[in-house]
């Protein structure tokens, strides 16, 4: 018998497929992973602590930088929690705008995931196709709120900007364009035998394990749990739209991919309905006091971000600043399952499994 030795391999924080600054300390035996430990915190900015010193409007730009791939949902988490605590009414038009931008952002986020995931697996072109289409969403956002990534768009009680003339129609034509693009993606990726080989039956976990680890979003739904907060605890005006929640069966990486791709289709459905039902006129800001003093109390709201349940917990002592602010950041919770999934796998599967979880380091580190 040949004497073999285990080797400690440092994957990251500077590694092409750790999606930012995640570091994995991987113990490997040949190419088989014996143990893996994620080391996080390289992008920690202490958003929650900073927020204690900021008033509620000032926190919004900070949330843009948590999950920078889908900043709109983060914006919504903080303003929604504040509105709940203050008992504010939000005008209908503002709610429509919020839903439209959140769903657009969900598509953008899934496109980024899809592109980078395929890049992890070794395909170059889908990444650029995904970014080409995402660019259209970013251009729409740029026109709406003046920024492509850090939107700072929502305000407590409404949204900052009304849709510029013709913007809603542009969203409508984007939906049509994107529906055509989905066919191309499926042709290029979903049917590709090498992609299937790489993802089918890899990184499997069952429903119990997913629930035990507190997974949410597509990572949970892929095991067959029908759990989408837009359906289960409808917020904003999601109860007005009809859409399906794609769920998987086996929980492997291929189904995760299919789940996310189908979510894009469902988001397009919602967008279509929202564009059709968009109120012709109306206010975009509710009646909001000039200085936001949030009554004493606590509130937790959970919303469905592209990555899972994004929660916002505010403890207020009646000041214009939160006494304590806590974000339940879905990537952080979803990452916890990684060591469990990696044990016994091959190095090549490492990037496939890590990519499948869909983490954004800004969110993991907070």
């Amino acid at each position: 018998m040949l004497r073999t030795e285990e080797m400690l391999l440092n994957v990251g924080p500077q590694h092409p497929s750790t999606h930012g600054v995640l570091r994995l300390v991987v113990k490997i035996d040949g190419e088989a992973i014996v143990d893996a430990e994620p080391v996080i915190g390289y992008l920690h900015r202490g958003t929650e602590k900073l927020a204690e010193d900021l008033n509620y409007t000032q926190i919004i730009p900070y949330t843009d930088r948590l999950d920078y791939v889908s900043a709109m949902t983060n914006n919504y988490a903080i303003v929604h929690a504040t509105e709940q605590l203050m008992g504010l009414e939000v005008p209908e038009r503002a709610e429509f705008l919020r839903v439209i931008v959140m769903e657009l952002n969900r598509i953008a986020s899934h496109l980024v995931w899809m592109g980078t995931y395929l890049l992890d697996i070794g395909a170059l072109s889908p990444f650029l196709y995904a970014f080409r289409d995402r660019e259209q969403i970013l251009d729409l956002f740029n026109e709406l709120c003046g920024a492509r990534l850090t939107y700072n768009y929502m305000r407590v009680g409404g949204v900052k900007w009304d849709a510029p003339p013709g913007w809603i129609d542009k969203v409508g034509s984007f939906v049509e364009y994107m529906q055509k693009q989905m066919v191309e993606y499926h042709g290029l990726i979903s049917g590709n035998e090498i992609f299937k080989q790489r993802t089918k039956g890899i990184g499997v976990y069952d429903r119990k394990m997913a629930l035990d680890y507190g997974l949410s979003g597509a990572n949970l739904r892929v095991t067959g749990v029908d759990w989408d907060l837009r359906k289960k605890q409808p917020y904003s005006i999601y109860d007005r739209f009809t859409f399906n929640v794609p769920v998987g069966k086996t929980g492997d990486l291929y189904e995760k991919y299919m789940c996310r791709m189908n979510e894009v289709v469902e988001s397009l459905n919602i967008l279509q309905q929202a564009v059709n039902a968009f109120p012709a006129e109306g206010k975009i800001m509710g009646k909001v006091p000039r200085v936001l003093r949030v009554p004493e109390g606590e509130v937790y709201v959970g919303i469905e971000s592209p990555r899972g349940e994004l929660g916002c917990h505010i403890v207020s002592k009646g000041k214009d600043k939160p006494w304590r602010l806590k974000f339940r950041r879905p990537s952080f919770y979803n990452l916890q399952i990684l060591p469990e999934l990696l044990r016994g796998q091959n190095i090549s599967n490492l990037v496939a499994i890590l990519g499948g979880i869909d983490i954004v380091l800004g969110e993991v580190d907070g």
Binding site: L54, S125, N142, G187
Partner: protein, 150 residues
Amino acid sequence: MLGLVKGLGITLKNMAKPKVTYKYPDEPLVMPDRFRGIQHFDPEKCIVCNQCARICPTDCITLTGKKHPDPEQKGKVIDTYDINFEICILCDLCTEVCPTEAIVMTNNFELAVYSRDELFKDLNWLHNNNTHIRSENSTNLMPKAGGKAK
């Protein structure tokens, strides 16, 4: 095998599609009107109310006022106004609260410099940054006739 061939067909088809890249440094990138670029500051309009400095989430604005040179007039006029673009996140909150639209956004976004010190922009620089000014800015405008803001 069929999926592989289909993929090859799709990439071949994409070769003929028009290119989507911008010719950026050769041709300036035109941003939509609402784009949040570098601020323009108009000292004539400023009433030294300090709202912008207070709302700024990163504390990048520092300003000082002085007494109005004309003893007849009440109030203050601006003396110095600096924005530190090392930490400014162009979040738009300062222009949103400004009651007189003294600080407004422009569409200019090119801020690259060789030294960090150059990112510290003063009143004059901000005043001269007067191209591509955004058309709508404040949501907190003071009524024209003066008096208390609504």
